[in-house]
Each structure stands twice: as C-alpha cells, then as structure tokens.
Symmetry: C2
C-alpha cells in the first residue's frame, strides 16, 4: 500500500468509483428515464466503503487498479440497488437517503423497483467484462461470490429476517445471524473479492473472509449505536427508525454500553485475523477501526 493517509486513500477510491459508475451508466441508452433513476440511486453519495474493501484486499496481492476498480464498482452497484429497494414504500418507506430524496420519491415506486433490478443485473455484467477483468475463472468466481453474498444465502435473507424481527422478538443469536447476512455479507464479500482477484490460496482467502466477517459486525453495531445517538443531519438519513419500527438490535438488547463492548471485541478479532499479513494489511486494520469509530 502507499503511505497516503487513510482519508486520502478512501476519498481517492470514492472518486475513481464515481467516475467508473458515471461512465458505465452513460453507456446505457435503451431507456433514458431508467438510466436517470439508476444514476439517482448510484451516484453522488456514499463513502464507497465496499469498493475500498475490495481495493485494500486486492492490493495485498498486487492486483491492477483496473480490475479491483471494476469489482468494487460492481459491489457498490449491488449495495446501491439494495438501498433503492429498501427505501420503497412497501419496505422501509424512507423519503431521505444521503441527504436527498430516495429514488421512489424522486421518480415513482415502479421505476425505483426497476432501477434497483437494473443496478443488480448490471453489476454482474461488469464482472464478466473481459476488458475489465482478464481471467475467466476470476470473473466467474467473482460473480459467484457476489451472488452468494447478496442473494438468498446472504443479504436478501438478512433483509427478510430483519423484517420478521419487527413482529417477533429476536434473541441475541437471531440478531447476530440477521446482521451477519443483512449487512455483514456484502462487507465480507468485498474483502473476498480482493482475495479472488489476487488468486489467493485457500488459507489466505479464509483469513481475509474472517476479517471481513468481523468488519461487517463492527460496521453494523456501530450503525445501530448511531441510530440512537446521532442526529438526522449528521447521518443524512432518518434516525431513530429502529426504535420506531420496534426492530431488535444489539443496542435494544444490551444497551449502548453493552453494544460498544461487543463492537470493541469485533475490532480486536478482525485485526487478529490479519496477523499473517504484516505491514501490508495496515490499511485494513485502520479500516475496521474506522467502521467502529465513525460518526456518520
């Protein structure tokens, strides 16, 4: 890794990802209103943490920027699609996202459903572009990893368990399982995609996945804490939704202090998983601490 400060590296990754997404979306001309709604859902917001996870993991293996940028952007498209669908009236019914109207508010619910579908589908197309990722085995494994992380064995399953948690009491195990799927799966997938791009051996890939699991846990618990402690203004989205929707979270079960303890433990375990990587993985250590300490 370069020695540039963390914030500089993160901002540079976000800028590259934004440019990639802009160019990619500009190429979609079949239905202009659809592309506009996709732009609304995918551009101009977000810290692009998931692409940065792909990048930080891939750079451990000397992967070329062109390849990790494409993989990171595909992962971000999946993340953005999930937000577009999550915000729908039939789902969370959210009006505000990253400080601007959600896609269904800016357009209409039908177009938001289709824009989400299109972002998801296009992500898989990006991963199979031989101009972007040279090796076909790598392309195929990236698609498989993204499908596992985002589909019915991953993120979507977590969303269903999350909705079920609104009407039944979840115990701590249920909550950990739900969160590992809902938020954790895509974060883990990001680190895993870097390992796939790097053709890492089984043990190395497993160590990075273990780091990713703890990074996902840290991210989610920090999010739950912010939901009760932050302001709407700082967060750029509606806060207090968990309590309002009667959602079970680690915070509702353990309180803020109890949640902070679990958060600290997750950060320690994540950093421990990186023991074999030495100084090269410093950016991943900083990243998991960043997840834990973020204020928005």
């Amino acid at each position: 890794m370069t020695s540039a400060p963390f914030d500089t590296q993160l901002a540079a990754c976000a800028q590259r990802t934004e440019a990639f997404l802009i160019a990619r979306l500009d190429g979609l001309t079949a239905a202009p209103r659809l592309t506009d709604a996709m732009r609304h859902g995918a551009l101009g917001g977000g810290k692009r943490l998931r692409p940065f996870l792909v990048e930080a993991s891939a750079r451990l293996f000397g992967v070329e920027e062109r390849e990790y940028l494409a993989a990171g952007a595909a992962l971000e498209m999946v993340h953005c699609y999930s937000l577009v669908h999550d915000d729908l009236p039939d789902m969370d019914n959210d009006h505000l996202r990253r400080g601007k109207p959600t896609v269904w508010k800016a357009y209409d619910p039908a177009l938001a459903i289709l824009a989400g579908d299109a972002l998801l589908t296009e992500a898989f197309r990006v991963l199979t572009d031989p101009q972007l990722i040279a090796d076909s085995e790598t392309r195929s494994e990236l698609v498989a990893a993204l499908a596992v992380g985002s589909g019915p064995d991953g993120m979507v399953a977590g969303q269903v368990l999350d909705i079920e948690g609104e009407t039944k009491r979840l115990d701590e195990d249920d909550i950990f399982k739900m969160q590992a799927l809902k938020t954790g799966a895509l974060i883990r997938t990001g680190v895993e995609m870097g390992a796939i791009l790097g053709r890492a051996d089984v043990e190395t890939r497993a160590a990075l996945v273990l780091y990713g699991v703890h990074a996902g846990l840290a991210f989610q618990i920090a999010d739950d804490i912010l939901d009760v402690t932050a302001s709407s203004h700082a967060l750029g989205k509606t806060v207090g939704k968990d309590v309002e929707q009667n959602k079970s979270t680690i915070v509702s079960l353990r309180g803020v202090d109890g949640a902070r303890e679990i958060l600290e433990h997750a950060v320690e375990q994540g950093i421990r998983a990186l023991n074999g990587f030495g100084q090269d993985a410093e950016i991943l250590r900083i990243l998991i601490r960043h997840f834990a300490e973020r204020e928005h």
Copy 2:
C-alpha cells in the same frame, strides 16, 4: 434432436427444469419464508419455453444435458423474478398468475420484492457453478449474455418503455423497440445461451440470435392478440389488461388481422435464419410456429 414429438420434448424439459429448481431452492435455508416465496414464484407453472429454447439451441452442438439444464433454469429464474416484480401493486397490480395468487397476494409486497431480487441473484450463481458448467469462459459469457438480455439494455429497459407507453402514444417503431426489449430480449438470450454453451462460431451464433429475435417478436404479438381474444380461464391470468391500461400494442395500432400478418412474417423470417442448420434445427422451426399458434 430425438424424434420424440414436440409436445413430449417440451413437457420433458419442463419436468427436468422443475426438478432442478426444486432441488436448488431446497438448498436455500437461511430464511425459510424467503425460500417459500421464491418457490411460489418459480415452481409449479409455466410451459418453461425459455429453458426449452436453451435446450433446443444447445443440442444443435451436442451440449450435455447437465449444462443446458442449468443454463435454462437460470434463464427461467430470471423470467420468474420479472413476473414476481411485474405483478407488484406498484407495477401491474395483478392478483392472479398461472391460475394462483401472485406472490405479493400470497405473502406481502415486501417479500415479493425480495423474492424477486433473490431469484434474479441466484440465477447468476447457478451459471457460475463449476459443477454444473465446466468451462469458466462459458460460465462468464453466459452471465454476460443473461445480464445484457435481462438488464438495462434488455428486459428492464423494455419494462420502463412499456410503462411510459401507458401515458404517451407510442408509434409502431416505439412498440417494436419496447417489445424487442421487454419480451424479446430473454427469448433471444435463451437461443444465444445455447450457442454459448456450444462454443458456436460468430456466424452461427449470429444466425441463432436472428432466429431468437424473430421468435421473441412472434411470441409477443401472439400474446397481444391473445390479450384481446382469449378468456381469463384459458390464459390463467387477467386478460384485457392492455386495453384497460391503455397500452399501445401492435394490435391496438393494426387490429387483430394486421397483427396476424406481422406475426406470420416474423415466423417466416425466423425460419429463414435457420437455413444453414438443416434437419437438426427442426425443433426450433416447430417452436416458433408454436409461439405463433398458441392458444394460452
């Protein structure tokens, strides 16, 4: 191809596809209610015409059943996801599909959104399973073709143009473009997936794609004619929706007789595209006539 009658071959393909989907869905245990909703949307209905297109095309090249079955099932999952989302209250607001309640009616709209998302995502996972499709280049190309056919350069774009057609008058060119994307793209993709599995050369693949374009056109025009001539009972879904929703179709522009002429022409063109294939492609010739003459 075997010499079994068309109907027998079609039914056998449907049975194999159903069995494949049942087994695949049984393997998804993370969120049981999600899997149930996916089953509701994917199992027990449909003639599985798209998997049969993959099979009929792939068998021109001696592709193994294991491979074309997986590719056909993946295509069918995408078709089913599109129906699940199409039926949503914010989209077509349909209550009946294949003679049973739509997924959102049987469950709820949120679960229908997520079940659709999950079917789409899982389709790409199926295509990248090395146990099902041996060659990585083939897996990657199948994903790319399916993403192009179903995403913002294909089916989803067509759905957006179709919705726009409810509030503005479409001319004949607009309607052909919309239909080529909305219905045609997946049908074309089915034939194309067979060619990809068979590692067909560029010219052979192009000839099959041309056939697929005309097969898609024939399928859609026949559908539009049925919407004004068939009964709800025969069709297993609500009819007369096009007129009710003020949708522009070839039938609304040219009348039933005019539409039948265009349909006949599409069948001829599709059959002409198969000239280089001789007797091997007979099943594809029967298939496009079946599209044109179907009564439900």
